[in-house]
Structures are given as C-alpha cells and as structure tokens.
C-alpha cells in the first residue's frame, strides 16, 4: 500500500517537474512547484520521515514559494519581458544533455553491485531495535544538537550571511532621487 502511494506520487512528481520547467508563465511554474513540493513530502512520509515531511511543506511550500511568488508579483513582468526567445537548437541541446545525464546516472545506479543487492530490501518495512524511532522529531533533535552541532552552527552563520547579503543587494541606493521623481510625477500628469 505504501509502495503504491510512492509510485503514484513519484509519477505525479515527474509530471509536475516537467510542467514546471516547460511552462511559459513563471506563475504557473511556481504553483506547479508547490504541487511538486507537496508530493515530495508525501514521499518523505512513505520513507518514514514525518518531521522532514512537515518541514518540507513549511519551508519549501510555505517560505520559499512565498519568496518566489512575492518577487514575481513585485517585478510585474509584461508579456514581452516574459517572452524568452529561446533558440530551439538550444532547447534541443539542453534536452539531449540532460537526457545523457539521466542515462548516465541510471547506468551508474543499475551497474552498482551494492544497489542491486539492495533490491530485495523493502524500504517501507518495519524496523526493529533502537533505530525504529529514526526520523522522529526527538531523535533528529538529539542528533542535531549533539553529534552534528558543528555543521548546525555553521549553517546558522551561513543563513545570517545570506540575510545580510539579501538586504544589502536589495537596498535602494538613492532615496533622495526617488522622492524627487515621486513629487514630479503628479505634475507631469497635470500638464
């Protein structure tokens, strides 16, 4: 039953991912990306990672998608600006390149002895022993704040730098000039 859910949501994931990269309008891409993230969280649930499934919906489906949609609405791109004018040869080349990558990676997966030996293991099966609680919030918290505390702290520094960088990049340089243009505009409309 769990495996069936994984298959169905996997097929839908591939379909929505293909739609994300082929839609002309970025707003459709963003909405389909939300669908993709929700399906990914279903797959995380099947692989017994409930905490990550929740985090996926919160961070990806919530925060990152709001950021994307916010920027899309802020830019308010016109039809002309959305027209990408991509060379069909470039599309063909990109398709061939990514298909080659796909075949290569599939070959790497299928030729690996260990992965072939792992084919008999059911990933949705029950786990005995101490590891049966793996993936639960308590275990992740313990692992994050004891064994992996150093990467955790480095990640927090990285996010701090990213916040500073984002604020620095999006600041408006000449606020005085902007005020001038704002006061000039009504006069222009009158004349």
């Amino acid at each position: 039953m769990d495996a069936l859910v994984f298959y169905i949501s996997g097929i839908l994931m591939i379909a929505s991912a293909l739609l994300v990269v082929t839609r002309k309008n970025p707003v459709y891409s963003a909405i389909l990306l939300v669908v993709f993230f929700l399906l990914t969280s279903v797959n995380f649930l099947v692989l017994r990672s409930p905490f990550l499934a929740v985090i996926q919906v919160l961070v990806y489906g919530g925060a990152i998608m709001v950021l994307f949609l916010f920027v899309l609405m802020l830019l308010n791109l016109t039809e002309e600006e959305l027209d990408e004018k991509v060379d069909p040869r470039r599309k063909l080349l990109a398709g061939a390149g990514s298909a080659c990558l796909f075949v290569l990676l599939c070959w790497a997966v299928s030729s690996s002895e260990r992965i072939r030996a792992a084919g008999a293991v059911d990933l949705t099966g029950k786990v005995e022993g101490k590891a049966s609680t793996a993936g639960e919030t308590r275990e992740i918290g313990k692992a994050l704040f004891s064994e992996h505390i150093l990467p955790f702290e480095f990640t927090s520094i990285l996010i701090f730098i990213a916040i500073i960088g984002a604020i620095y990049l999006t600041r408006t340089r000449r606020t005085v000039k902007r005020e001038n243009t704002l006061t000039e505009e009504p006069g222009e409309e009158n004349s």
Partner: protein, 112 residues
C-alpha cells in the same frame, strides 16, 4: 508491493535531470532558480532513501542518533536551499532594477 532502493534512485535521477534541463534551456532567472530547487529536492529524496535503506538493513546495530544522520543532512541541505533562494532572488531584484530584464542572456557584463 514493495519499494526497492534502486526505484527511489531512478526517481531522484529523473527529477535531477529535469532540473538540469530547466537550468540549461530557460532564459528567465526565476524559472532557473525554481529548477535549482527541483534538483535539490531530487538530491534530498536520494539521501532519505539511502538513509532509510541503511536503517532497514543495519537497524539493529545503529543507535537512534546514528540512524537520524540522513535526516540531519537533509535539514542542512534545506537550510542552504533557503539561503540560496533568498540571495538569488535578491540578486535578481538588483539586476532587474539596473537593466529592466530577467533574461540571463542580457547579463553579459562579465563576458570576455
């Protein structure tokens, strides 16, 4: 019906390749950033499947903390993806203010 590791990995490979196609074929930076998110999601799913496999096989010997290592990896990847999206969109806003364009081929200031 059972779920094997290689099937999960084929799914991850497919999603990663679709992301690569998006990065290579699109001109709009917003869609390119979305494709990057797709690629990161494919990698996340692969890490989770590997972690699940090792828990299923060696679950008896692993401690609870050791079994959660893959989940910690994914959390860190997720945090870095969020930081990447924030900085990428900030760069996009700065570029749009300067050149009024979101096409990557219009950004050739550093082109030799």
């Amino acid at each position: 019906m059972s779920l094997s590791l290689d099937l999960c990995l084929y799914l991850c490979t497919a999603i990663f390749s679709i992301g690569v196609y998006g990065v290579l074929s699109r001109q709009n930076i917003i869609v390119i950033l979305m494709s990057l998110e797709l690629m990161l999601n494919g990698v996340n799913l692969a890490i989770i499947s590997f972690g699940r496999y090792f828990i299923t096989v060696e679950g008896a010997e692993l401690s609870g903390v050791g079994a959660s290592t893959s989940q910690v990896f994914v959390i860190i990847v997720l945090a870095i993806a969020a930081a990447e999206a924030a900085v990428g969109l900030a760069i996009l806003l700065a570029v749009y203010r300067r050149w009024r364009s979101t096409r990557v081929s219009d950004m050739r200031l550093l082109k030799g």
